[in-house]
């Protein structure tokens, strides 16, 4: 012991003086009150905190007179009752009012002694300054309110428990699903509130909270878990549970987050059903398409040979018996021949169409559109010469189509442009414009034009607008549409009767082009 410490406890000090020295300037406030709460003694420390001198707190001042009105109410409705009931209270938050009107937040402990002989009561209070602590508490309470408000307003169900699995918090969504009043659910074991069973067997299953508490790991529910509410309603759940660790790293509780997926499950089931039906219809459609193509192919192929025979024999007839037939007979024979020819062309087109419909791999080797056009002009040489038609184009790109398809496409469009010409000399102009991911071709003519009501229908097979006024099988544009669609493109027409038509189609760009 140093000399200074010896000085603090002089040997000659009486017990009373020593007590006063400990009591007066103690690091906490001390107050003694009587039965009616009147102040019997108050130490210097508390006087100092409150800003009073001893004389000011004499005659009949009571402890409650030093409190805020709220503190006074609390004293009368809770604190005094509690102290009388158990003769001891600890860590009670109480606000004092200083002489200057400022508020001093404190924590108080109190002990009551009763003298059974004299029926007198003494209450001894220890008062601790709690300014900073109170700030922390308010902050904590604020954080708790924020967290409770947040969890109350989210769509997920949330329940937390302590380390024994007793519910400490349950949000509105969870309480509603479980069919419990949130206030009543708190304090109950998790299993009593969240009754979980297997969807298939109805067997009770362990709450994932237990698993999380035991293993300290995050756990998901097994699929097909069903929550049975207090009223017996059932919900399919999707959830996870996670342990909560305290600052020592030990498990202090767990939280389970879940949602009702009954509706989602039903939607998924419906979606799957719809998808299955769609696939079935698609397969059926494919099958019938193939059947149809096959039929068309076989039919046209088989039609060709009797037709060839008719054609061959009518030629023989003309060659060998023209003198016997006479002018009238020869005329009829010519009509037979011309009809056979037309029918041959029709069958040819039908065959082409059918072959296009049946499964075939189309190469996407880039083909130069100019080369394709040159072939077409070659093919159509006689009609072009015959009609004095002008076919022109400006530099055309390579496209991602096979040469036959593109040639067919151009040939049909140009042949149509010439076939359905007006009185003017046919003039066909082909151009292409690059757009994102594809080429946009235009094939413009100065022909008779097409009424807007036919823009769609002309692309249907065997749809002919002009009857026998113009020659044609009625399959050309349908074929074009089929080709373009094969490559994921579109074809359409813009036209005005008497002014000509512009056929538009889009085709993929050549790979790497």
């Amino acid at each position: 012991m140093s000399d200074r410490e010896h000085e603090a406890l002089p040997e000659e000090a009486s017990l009373l003086e020593l007590a006063e020295k400990l009591y007066g300037p103690a690091p906490c406030g001390y107050v003694t009150t009587g039965a009616s709460g009147n102040l019997l003694n108050i130490n210097q420390t508390l006087l100092g905190w409150l800003g009073y001198v001893r004389e000011e707190l004499q005659s009949g001042v009571r402890l409650v007179d030093l409190l805020t009105p709220g503190g006074r109410l609390f004293y009368e409705t809770h604190l005094a009752l509690l102290l009388n009931a158990q003769q001891s209270v600890d860590e009670i938050a109480l606000d004092f009012v200083c002489k200057d009107g400022s508020v001093l937040p404190t924590l108080v402990n109190a002990r009551q002694t009763r003298d059974t002989r004299t029926e007198s009561v003494l209450n001894r209070w220890a008062v601790f300054k709690a300014t900073v602590r109170r700030l922390y508490e308010r902050e904590l309470l604020g954080a708790r309110n924020l967290f409770e408000t947040t969890l109350s307003s989210i769509a997920d169900a949330v329940v937390s428990t302590d380390d024994r699995g007793v519910i400490t918090f349950i949000n509105g969504v969870a309480a509603e699903l479980a069919g419990w009043d949130p206030d009543l659910a708190i304090g109950n074991p998790i299993e009593d509130v969240l009754v979980l069973v297997r969807e298939d067997t109805g067997e009770r299953i362990e709450n994932p909270i237990r698993d999380a508490l035991r293993t300290g790991a995050k756990v998901g529910l097994e699929n097909h878990t069903v929550l049975v509410s207090a009223q017996g309603r059932t919900f399919v759940l999707d959830d996870t549970a996670a342990p909560i660790f305290d600052e020592d790293g030990s498990i202090s509780g767990a939280v389970i987050v879940f949602r009702d997926v009954t509706q989602r499950r039903e939607d998924e089931r419906k979606l799957q059903e719809a998808y299955r039906q769609l696939e079935e219809s698609a397969a059926e459609l494919r099958r019938s398409n193939e059947d149809l193509s096959q039929f068309a192919y076989v039919a046209s192929h088989d039609l060709r040979s009797p037709l060839n025979t008719v054609s061959l024999f009518s030629q023989l007839l003309r060659r060998r018996y023209s003198d016997k037939l006479g002018a009238d007979g020869t005329q009829l024979l010519q009509q037979i021949e011309s009809s056979t020819k037309r029918m041959g062309a029709l069958i040819e087109n039908l065959l082409e169409f059918a072959m296009l419909s049946s499964k075939r791999d189309y190469s996407t080797e880039p083909i130069d559109a100019e080369t394709a056009l040159k072939i077409v002009v070659e093919n159509l040489h006689s009609v072009i010469t015959e009609s004095d038609a002008v076919i022109e184009w400006t530099s055309l790109p390579k496209v991602g189509m096979d040469d036959t398809s593109l040639t067919q496409l151009f040939q049909n469009l140009i042949a149509n442009a010439i076939r359905y010409r007006s009185s003017a000399t046919p003039h066909v102009r082909i151009s292409a414009q690059r757009e994102v991911g594809y080429w946009h071709f235009r094939c413009q003519d100065n022909g008779v034009g097409i009424g807007a009501e036919h823009y769609e229908s002309i692309f249907e097979p065997f749809k002919r607008l002009h009857g026998n006024e113009f020659p044609g099988s009625g399959i050309g544009l349908a074929l074009c549409k089929k080709i373009v669609q094969r490559y994921g493109g579109q074809i359409w027409v813009e036209s005005k009767v008497g002014e000509g038509s512009t056929f538009h189609f889009t085709v993929p760009v050549a790979t790497g082009g």
């Binding site: 709220g70 109410l73 409705t77 009931a85």
Partner: protein, 265 residues
């Protein structure tokens, strides 16, 4: 659910007349433990807890239902019917005094008399009326309740009670005291301290005793005087006992005054 369970109704004593003790805000029927037994020789004593307090059935509580004192008055009438005590001598402390007033207006025939201990028809100052508190004082009380963990969870509330060295009766009392659900306690505080039943006093037709404590901070002299002046034909007694709970701090005087009133009304 039986009303006996719902309100934790306890009866004892023998006599033709029934005396019903109603606890005030912040406590339960155990607060009458020094006073009620004194009447068992000559009366049938009935004690109960309001829903949300003490050992009542907490599940019967609904914030919506108990949003006004009249709901508590309905409960009192229900209790009287259940114990077949009408007409009862109703002894109500603090806010219960007013609950008794409201119940007696609804059904005067159920009451032989009203004994109001420290009643206040309105705790908030209003123009010439000095209730003792401002609205912000009441808010401060609610904040103090928060600070003392009553605003926290139910699990937390008993923590403040744990440091009791005496395991016998005191512990039991403290336990029942803190069984009051903190959220209900807060809501009851709001309903109690923000209600204004001044206009109802004039409608009382039952003989009434107003017991006023000395130095009562919750219901000051002026308030007791107001209740007396505005309750037709009421009798007024000022106790020597100080504070708001004479039944705890001065049970002998409290018993004496009540007994005298009952014998010589």
């Amino acid at each position: 659910m039986s009303l006996f369970t719902k309100h934790n109704i306890n009866t004892y004593g023998k006599g033709d007349k029934t005396i019903l003790f109603a606890h005030g805000y912040g406590c339960d029927q155990t607060m009458w433990r020094f006073v009620a037994p004194a009447f068992q020789d000559r009366y049938r004593v009935v004690l109960f807890d309001y829903v949300g307090a003490g050992n009542s059935d907490i599940s019967a509580y609904s914030r919506q239902k108990y949003g006004a004192l009249s709901a508590y008055a309905d409960d009192v009438l229900e209790i009287i019917e259940t114990v077949r005590g009408a007409p009862v001598i109703f002894v109500g402390h603090s806010v219960s005094g007013l609950i008794g007033v409201l119940a007696s207006i609804k059904r005067p025939e159920a009451f032989a008399s009203l004994v109001l201990v420290g009643p206040s028809p309105c705790y908030i100052n209003d123009a010439d009326y000095a209730g003792g508190f401002s609205r912000s004082d009441i808010e401060a009380l609610l904040k103090t309740l928060d600070d003392n963990h009553l605003g926290w969870s139910k699990a937390m509330a008993p923590v403040i009670m744990k440091n009791v060295d005496r395991p016998e009766l005191a512990q039991e009392l403290a336990d029942s005291f803190c069984r009051t659900d903190p959220k209900i306690a807060k809501h009851f505080a709001r309903v109690t301290f923000l209600s204004d039943n001044r206009a109802d006093l004039a409608k009382v037709t039952v003989p009434t005793l107003v017991m006023q404590c000395s130095q009562d901070d919750i219901a000051p002299d002026t308030v007791g005087d107001y209740v007396h002046r505005n309750t037709p034909g009421s009798k007024f007694v000022t106790l020597q006992a100080t504070g708001h709970c004479p039944h705890l701090s001065a049970p002998a005087e409290t018993i004496e005054v009540i007994r005298e009133y009952l014998e010589r009304p």
